[in-house]
Symmetry: D5
Subunit: 147 residues, 10 copies
Amino acid sequence: MQREDVTDLIVLQKIKKKLTWTQLAEVIGHSKEWSTAALLGQMTLTEAQAKAIGAALDLPEEAIALLQVTPYKGSLPTAVPTDPLIYRFYELISVYGTTFKALIHEEFGDGIMSAIDFNMDLTREPDPKGDRVRIVMSGKFLPYKTY
Amino acid sequence: MQREDVTDLIVLQKIKKKLTWTQLAEVIGHSKEWSTAALLGQMTLTEAQAKAIGAALDLPEEAIALLQVTPYKGSLPTAVPTDPLIYRFYELISVYGTTFKALIHEEFGDGIMSAIDFNMDLTREPDPKGDRVRIVMSGKFLPYKTY
Amino acid sequence: MQREDVTDLIVLQKIKKKLTWTQLAEVIGHSKEWSTAALLGQMTLTEAQAKAIGAALDLPEEAIALLQVTPYKGSLPTAVPTDPLIYRFYELISVYGTTFKALIHEEFGDGIMSAIDFNMDLTREPDPKGDRVRIVMSGKFLPYKTY
Amino acid sequence: MQREDVTDLIVLQKIKKKLTWTQLAEVIGHSKEWSTAALLGQMTLTEAQAKAIGAALDLPEEAIALLQVTPYKGSLPTAVPTDPLIYRFYELISVYGTTFKALIHEEFGDGIMSAIDFNMDLTREPDPKGDRVRIVMSGKFLPYKTY
Amino acid sequence: MQREDVTDLIVLQKIKKKLTWTQLAEVIGHSKEWSTAALLGQMTLTEAQAKAIGAALDLPEEAIALLQVTPYKGSLPTAVPTDPLIYRFYELISVYGTTFKALIHEEFGDGIMSAIDFNMDLTREPDPKGDRVRIVMSGKFLPYKTY
Amino acid sequence: MQREDVTDLIVLQKIKKKLTWTQLAEVIGHSKEWSTAALLGQMTLTEAQAKAIGAALDLPEEAIALLQVTPYKGSLPTAVPTDPLIYRFYELISVYGTTFKALIHEEFGDGIMSAIDFNMDLTREPDPKGDRVRIVMSGKFLPYKTY
Amino acid sequence: MQREDVTDLIVLQKIKKKLTWTQLAEVIGHSKEWSTAALLGQMTLTEAQAKAIGAALDLPEEAIALLQVTPYKGSLPTAVPTDPLIYRFYELISVYGTTFKALIHEEFGDGIMSAIDFNMDLTREPDPKGDRVRIVMSGKFLPYKTY
Amino acid sequence: MQREDVTDLIVLQKIKKKLTWTQLAEVIGHSKEWSTAALLGQMTLTEAQAKAIGAALDLPEEAIALLQVTPYKGSLPTAVPTDPLIYRFYELISVYGTTFKALIHEEFGDGIMSAIDFNMDLTREPDPKGDRVRIVMSGKFLPYKTY
Amino acid sequence: MQREDVTDLIVLQKIKKKLTWTQLAEVIGHSKEWSTAALLGQMTLTEAQAKAIGAALDLPEEAIALLQVTPYKGSLPTAVPTDPLIYRFYELISVYGTTFKALIHEEFGDGIMSAIDFNMDLTREPDPKGDRVRIVMSGKFLPYKTY
Amino acid sequence: MQREDVTDLIVLQKIKKKLTWTQLAEVIGHSKEWSTAALLGQMTLTEAQAKAIGAALDLPEEAIALLQVTPYKGSLPTAVPTDPLIYRFYELISVYGTTFKALIHEEFGDGIMSAIDFNMDLTREPDPKGDRVRIVMSGKFLPYKTY
């Protein structure tokens, strides 16, 4: 059993038990964004979180153990994602990549927005012309160290 | 002269004239996010906008004409970006890609967040532990049509 | 069992039961184009549709459950398809890609043809010099939002 | 001067002279789809067509000569297109590729839809919920020869 | 069981039964070139042909069924083949590709040699300096349709 | 000036002087297949051949010198060719690659068909259903040496 | 003039003036590691630093301006570097990549070593069996934020 | 059983037995850096070391045998690593690659830092602003031989 | 069972029986270079050789049969090898590729060194400064045929 | 002027002055193998060598300066070489890669053959069945350091 097998098992058990990602996030005790990423093999659970999820989803001991090991991250099978929903995010980087760079450097100087000291919130934005997906990302600005 | 040459010229003239992207956005009359993307060859200017920018940056006639032509979009030289600032956004998709997918489908059903009927806002988020980059993205949810 | 295994199973059961894609589409209650895409792992079935297909093809419970989960889309094993029938469509984009772009922008301005709010119809076009494949595609034009 | 330089020149002269692709197609005497593809370096003009276009766009002799040479086809700079409008067509093949294959084989047997004995028509489809792009493709079915 | 498994099984059974591709082609009733391609998963057998091969090679029912389904074509694991015998053919295209193009266009005008309405014959050409492989390819010329 | 520039120059001068590849082959004194490949930068001319071509096409001294240098071979800009005429040859290898391998090994044992001690002949094959391109390839079989 | 042209110019002027990277670092006032990276287009100089380098290397005004703009980072022409010296570093990541991961997670938990809040020192390590290259890297550990 | 299966088994047994890489390194008798790399399939153990590890982790005989065979090295599934911790090292090479090259050549002349006659040490560097990862690499300089 | 499985089995049995490649070559009756390549799936054994190896390594009948089938050659999992020992050979081609070409053409004219009519010998070259690997390659020169 | 321009200039001047690589090697005072590699941009010349070559080939001062700078190595435009002569060497690694690995490890243990402390000799090997290219490679064996 490897970490990917645990992910497959989680997805299947979640369907069978008719649980939502939001409900599983409550079991973990963190936001739905962080928790879903963790369950999909991108974050590391504590022993207590892993056991709680194991109980909620009837996972075997080995799976519970693997949930506590830092996974090899990267959730996509190809460098350019084929799934349309995920591709749109890739497209935003393709189209706006140099814009992100220009505006962050203009505001902060040389450095990056951290993808580690990072959090985000994904919500439904009601709109009469059709509801919208609203994502708020917040990452610490890290200036390039000079030395 | 091709559209990329116009971009190079814009960047150079902007430096010489010590203008900011925010100031150029005011010339265009749209947000700094959309305007910078347009100047970097990803959006299309109206004739009035192109002339205003041409005047602000001393661009030749040919450049002003090309700014009104819809460009071949995609601002990055490689499929996986090498620039660290831009790569962090790619990494977010790599790490959170399946999470975006899971949560948007849970909330909205099968479909995507539009990257066309889309807007965003990039601001500085003051924080005692180090200021943060805050990006608010809003894209219309488009459900897959069944037929 | 993963979604790909369900697709393999569907293809095999369809052969054994000598059913056509058109017949399966009738079971689902949508066009043959949308229904075939759904069965091949690109669209999401409702519970009723999944059960009807499960009954028609003797699928196990787990498969019926997976048919109701939005799949990770993308039906091709390589970025440039090797199958000659599918390659011809890729070639059309390679040859006509910039033409699509030029003509749609000329008619509609900057924006795209939606691949989500999209439908198509594939029929036989009788022709004395050899029958033809006729495909009618219709996608909503989405203008780039300015902001 | 190479064929790509002729394309660049055509695009620039077309802007300066404020001509549309549809108008240029009338000069050539074919549909806007075939004519635009030809001008963008994907089809071959006759001597008369090349001279007419040369006159309409003030092209030099060398360009008029090159328009009559069959070009090395392929209009896109990367295997997976980055431009959002063109990508949506690529996505349709990615999502519907195996569906095209299944349905054409079901209707016609083993073979392909020709991309050579092919024509298409791109029009605006008025729709109260937003106008649509309508593309009708027609390609001769070519059965695999057995021998 | 998928089509690739059928190919593996055919290769193994052929070794065990000490049959040649030429003998199997006689069972199918077509040339050795077409028949071998079919057995290697690139062409579609009729029910009668599939049953005859099934009998000759002791294949299970499921394999016989799959032989009648049009396969996803493409017999090579990588875009540039590593096997030296197959690579030499790739090299011929790499070296002579633009020559094929120049000479066919010179003789026939713009169009292609069909790979569908195509046949070939591979024979031994006795030669005192070392026997040669002789391959005669014949493909219908398809002119680009203008419209 | 590099070898590619000589190729561009040859193509342009050939158009201006309205010469065919067959006529240029007569100047060189070899088949149209070998000669065209040589002019397109894939084979090496002797001093006499280079001078004759130089005279026929008004090439400068430097170009005549470069025609006598063995070129870096490979005539295609991408590993998988985008041009439809050339792609069909690539497709033949993709579809028939393992068939070539099976049949040549069956007839000759382990080894390859040489792409160096190789010649070919491309002709028009009249056919009432549409003329065909006929290509006869002949390459020496080279058995793998055991040692 | 683009940033890459400035890099080429710096390399050439440095040769002509027989200056070392260490001497140029003294002009900049930072370590030789940071300074060389900056001159090779990977870091951003202040106005004073840019002017000092401009004076030392006789750079034109435009180059001095560009040295103050944050560059698009990434110094290598291919994803897998071909230069043997640089490849050895790539090889270290290939061989030791999972080791870095295992040991840093064991010591620090889930997170990364920053490549932004980072410094390094490259020195000669005398050794009787052959001098060694000694590189000390120091990057801030950034723990994954949970939220 | 292949070498990768041994790696998977080692990782799983290590979790179950709650052992650290550092403890396993003590079993092997080398540094934690070399030992972890060896256990992760990048170095070769002696018979004594393999048996000791086998005893510590309850590995089967076959696994112990495979630990003594030099493995096919390379620990990453993709050329550009997706895991953020490992990617940062790749980024360092991307950003600092030409700097490494410039400074090592300036100090040592043409040659490389060996990745074979190489050792490294990874430690925690306490820092009031946040602890740091400190890596000391030492590789023998190998000058290019002239001959 | 496929040819790769036979290779895996050979490697495992060789370890268990503590045999060397040189000893296995003696069983085959050819050089260690050719024999090892054959056992690793790159050359074809005769029936007698296959049976002898089968006896030496306790291989099943099916494996012995597969050893007599010409394999699909290419022993490496990636186009650019990750294993450091094998990479060094790739690097030699990267660095010396154009040198091989220049010197062979200078000595022999246009043509290639055969990789089929080829043999090599790999030995230890004692050297007081450290023993060396000595590889003597010998391939027949094949001149390009003109026609 | 960059290093590649110097290579182009060297090749052109060499043709004009009808010099051989062997003669140029005598000017440099090293073997034809090392010297050709150096002139083709893969090794570094001393000041005296660069000046001697500059005089022999009438190179400008700037070129002579650049010949003394260690170049960014790698002489091939693509990862898999298209030129048939160079490809054969790539094919040898593809076919014999795992054989090199097996035999060197068997003889020397874990380590590599150096491509830096390396020399080679390329000669004509007369043979009544056709002369052969003989290449003797000698590289120092470097054992993996344990620590």
